[in-house]
Symmetry: D2
Subunit: 384 residues, 4 copies
Amino acid sequence: MESGLPEQVVAWRRHLHRHPELSFQEHATARYVESVLRGFPHLNLSRPTPTSVLAVLRGTAGPGRTVLLRADMDALPIQEDTGLDFASQTPGVMHACGHDGHTAMLLGAAQVLSHSRETLHGEVRLLFQHAEELFPGGAQQLVDAGVMDGVDVAVGEHLMSQIPTGVIVLRDGALLAAPDAFTLTIHGQGGHGANPHETVDPVVLAAQVILAFQTVISRQRDPLEPAVLSVTTIHAGTAHNVIPDSAQLGGTVRTLDPALREAMPRRMEQIVQGLCAAYGATYTFDYVQGYRATINDPATTALLREVTAQTLGDAVTIHPGQPNMGGEDFSAYLSRAPGTFIIVGAGGDGQAPHHHPRFNFDERALEHGLKLYVAAARRLTQPL
Amino acid sequence: MESGLPEQVVAWRRHLHRHPELSFQEHATARYVESVLRGFPHLNLSRPTPTSVLAVLRGTAGPGRTVLLRADMDALPIQEDTGLDFASQTPGVMHACGHDGHTAMLLGAAQVLSHSRETLHGEVRLLFQHAEELFPGGAQQLVDAGVMDGVDVAVGEHLMSQIPTGVIVLRDGALLAAPDAFTLTIHGQGGHGANPHETVDPVVLAAQVILAFQTVISRQRDPLEPAVLSVTTIHAGTAHNVIPDSAQLGGTVRTLDPALREAMPRRMEQIVQGLCAAYGATYTFDYVQGYRATINDPATTALLREVTAQTLGDAVTIHPGQPNMGGEDFSAYLSRAPGTFIIVGAGGDGQAPHHHPRFNFDERALEHGLKLYVAAARRLTQPL
Amino acid sequence: MESGLPEQVVAWRRHLHRHPELSFQEHATARYVESVLRGFPHLNLSRPTPTSVLAVLRGTAGPGRTVLLRADMDALPIQEDTGLDFASQTPGVMHACGHDGHTAMLLGAAQVLSHSRETLHGEVRLLFQHAEELFPGGAQQLVDAGVMDGVDVAVGEHLMSQIPTGVIVLRDGALLAAPDAFTLTIHGQGGHGANPHETVDPVVLAAQVILAFQTVISRQRDPLEPAVLSVTTIHAGTAHNVIPDSAQLGGTVRTLDPALREAMPRRMEQIVQGLCAAYGATYTFDYVQGYRATINDPATTALLREVTAQTLGDAVTIHPGQPNMGGEDFSAYLSRAPGTFIIVGAGGDGQAPHHHPRFNFDERALEHGLKLYVAAARRLTQPL
Amino acid sequence: MESGLPEQVVAWRRHLHRHPELSFQEHATARYVESVLRGFPHLNLSRPTPTSVLAVLRGTAGPGRTVLLRADMDALPIQEDTGLDFASQTPGVMHACGHDGHTAMLLGAAQVLSHSRETLHGEVRLLFQHAEELFPGGAQQLVDAGVMDGVDVAVGEHLMSQIPTGVIVLRDGALLAAPDAFTLTIHGQGGHGANPHETVDPVVLAAQVILAFQTVISRQRDPLEPAVLSVTTIHAGTAHNVIPDSAQLGGTVRTLDPALREAMPRRMEQIVQGLCAAYGATYTFDYVQGYRATINDPATTALLREVTAQTLGDAVTIHPGQPNMGGEDFSAYLSRAPGTFIIVGAGGDGQAPHHHPRFNFDERALEHGLKLYVAAARRLTQPL
């Protein structure tokens, strides 16, 4: 690796950190990324969507496979409180999830790979994605725009401030959940608070629905199959003496297993339907599937274990990790080709969690992630 | 009134108290009552059922109405613990509700009325009823046997140890509840306690039914219309690690209003049906109506207020009382003719409640009840 | 009665109906009432509060008791939709509860009584009250201002569009409920919707509180003692994937019995406290007692039954009526002296309910109410 | 391996299958095992408990480690319905979990190892355990008797009829759950079904506890950490019109993680305590920890993967499997030394599940299990 590259990656990262942009608004970020990439040879640059950048590099070592490397670029609506000298200069917006680091690492990989295309078979697509943080996400838009057409395998990375620097998590199978959302309106019949018998009370019915929903997790689910159902919002009524007409509930459902994911709204609606019938109420139930679960391909993961051991050696420990009920739109790429999402430990002592106003990560991890992108590209583009 | 009659009534009562008989088994009691009645003139005696006695007396003052006076005669399966010198001589059986007193009072009325039929219009039927304490009760059997055919008005009395002697409760409208009973079996699908997702858990479903039943009282009922729904029994499962196939619940429902009474099982079943549908369970729901609610006729009650004031004067206070969620099969007579059930205060200091091993009542109240029976007969048999 | 008075009362009522004013804002109404009263002799007029009027009349028939007659004057924030030619001329404000009629009837009574003070003992206070519709109500302010000082008995009337004209409800004991209000905030611990185990979920806890509150009515209350507990508002959470920190609930509690009224907040808080302890949550519970229950004095009511029969004869039927879980600040006067609140049937065919945009009442009832005010004043001021 | 040994293992298995014995009653089985073992050289036989057999074999290849191999021997109280010609000859008792196979495989391993001790370092303890099926189990008794003193590593095997023959499950970490049990009695205050306000209703309180327990699983547990809480029994009340004094509940709790296991009874009792306080009830809560969770040692498992691949080669597939919420007392040995519990696929088409009257397994799997015991002993006794 070129001497000085890690320092360059840190510099890119800090520039991005100073200038965060919200999801779907990454205009300056995309321009910056594009301008850096223009400094490297052999890259075929394009804008698949207004705020994303795709750099395509064909290897000259011979025919091979096509590999997508992805970094996300968007920031969050959080007021930074780190006191860093490179802290956000945009009030209320902050790179509080490490996407600045992802982008910088992939820029570094672009520099290395573009200067060594003779070591590369096939084709590498370096994709700087917009809008990971905001459903419906940028990944699906990019898939729809064709970035996955002809891709054989996809690799993404995520820095994690709560995992020690030096740990690389390579997990087979389910890694991140499918985060779905629902909205439920229970239509009862309002009336005077003194005359409940002339009403169909939607508040007491909503309470029963909430408790019945707990049994979807506690009774109807294989105890070994992770799932979460959280009713996070409930709103009904405005006056102390008026029983309202309706109650509105909302929440999130998280699953790893696709079959369980499909079953959840059916089970929930059966409960709502039964309870509404019990009281003569009606309902509207909207269920929106969010990102798919992120499920790593065991074969790709096995290759990446070898690559990681060869590339980073004793500098890191490979760990199978644990699934996490959070979600990621990297899963959109995995719906089109096998691949693996790599977790890169980037934790120093006392690091704040992601999405926190004092979030930061250990920049030493940037070198790990950069080298993994490069090595993964070289190994996975080789013919099978 | 004949001098010495109150003493005689006390003597009858104490004989009956010594020799209590359970519901539908009042053979010796009926023989005793019949033998006393045979000592009075002009009575036409019969046995409408094996353990009840009917004495019919026609007045000679002229044509009039037909009045039924009723006393119940059965005792309870309770071991007496009063220490009275006339305590029960039958182990495990006790007159713990005052029916011995009711019978003695009506015997006294028979003596007075049979010796003064020239003061009487129409017809008086003195009915010594069996089996008030045990559903389906003796009253309905007697109605079916024809004792109410041609009756214009019915009067019953009940001594109450918890109401002071000297208080006569004459209440318009609903006085005692209709005590109905239900049995509910929830049929789920059992299985191993470690694998709830392979079952339809009837225990968790039963818990939801029990809480939903509370809302029948708290939300679906006019707050001014009394009702009780008590789930008193629940049985499911035998082994710690086996989710059972079914859960069985039982309980009582008490209402005063006939329309609400009819609505209760419908509302309960709608809840059960909805909740079972919510989980794919099935159910069997049995609902048995017990005695009707005892609802006094305001016109008869008004006449009895006059009669009471004239007859007992300052010796008593007339009170409108309160309804009570207990039940009485006197309601069977009221389903065929108007009438009133009179509560006669018979409480001394520290009297035990009805159905208690140390139950007793103040015997001074026997004279009140006897005089009310006599005066009611004379007044209510008069032509309108 | 003066010929033409009923027409005058109708005219006053229609004027008031055209010019409704909200609670505590009855400035024009008070001026109008005062100007009418100035046309009658012997009245001692005052303004106990800025928008109420008190007219005191001393009888010349001799010494006697002091009687308060009360009419309320305020209107409601409702847009009238009756199409009447005397409909409200103030957008969004309407006499939709009949207070215009009450005021007109009491003006008529003032006219009659002031012209016949030789028929009157003692003292009559005709009180035109502000702000019955809006807690904390005008009645308590007037009591605090001394209007009840020296009063022996108080009488109020309320027209009812849902009760037929010609029915006068005179009820002993509890007539209208004490309408109290509560606000409950459950403080849990928020967090990410995917990680419930890192939170104390206030939504699921609120659901349990709501169902437990049902048992205060279904299990903890004498079934013969009316009470309502309605949770009418619940608000928690704003985002589908965020478990909120807290949930806020509100509602109304209605009782007739003062002891039960005092017990309700204790029982509710015990449940909240236990459930919060079960989950490590905390709470704030605010309970505000509204108007007292309106409990009629049986002796006054008995006198008013006589008065009604003598005054209105066959024109009306006297009915004991039913309690109602609504509330009235007339109870403030009854906390200082015995008295009776009279319900005056004022229903024609198809009348809309009170507080409805098409509310109206049968103006023929105005004569009933006027005559009852006059006769009550004459009878109740007589020495005992 | 000696020619004919697999046939011999099948013969032993069928003899044991014909003569099943219940837990703690394995007298004939232990005698039979001991008599077979007496036919092999170099074994030091003992009876650590009345119905278990321990055979100790010292290797002569040099010093090494001490390895425990365990097979369980007890049968179940099930009436066999297989129609096999070697079906149980004891009515109502059946080897319905494959322990006959485990015992036969370990006998086969004893034969091989005892004839080849020159290939063996250290010491092998072949333990034929009683009473795995009945808590508190035989394993803990044997640990208490000292069988684990000086043991470096423990290996057990379990045939599985629902897993195809040829699959060997070697799982790191948690494999089987800790199956705990609880009994909860809620002490309310009974009374007449018509007077709930005079009682503390334990049935409605039990229903709330059952629903609150669901939240221990749905809200208080890391969604990635498996756990089950099943309320499997509830008993309260005997008469339709009597609210009972108490309700008794029981159930099972299953966890894999020891820290979660310790937390479960605390969380449950906090809920019970809070809900009882909410209603003025009391409780008794008994919680009995059953077998520990069976947690395999990753290092031992890694060695066994190598051993399995070398020994059985293409005949089998190694699979990481899934945890299972069932329990095993093999965990008692693992509380004293690291080790691994191996699942040996033994399923043919349409095999019935374990504990079923038609349970059987594919006897071809016996050779797999036997060879694994032998190879594990040889490998794991080698010095580190």
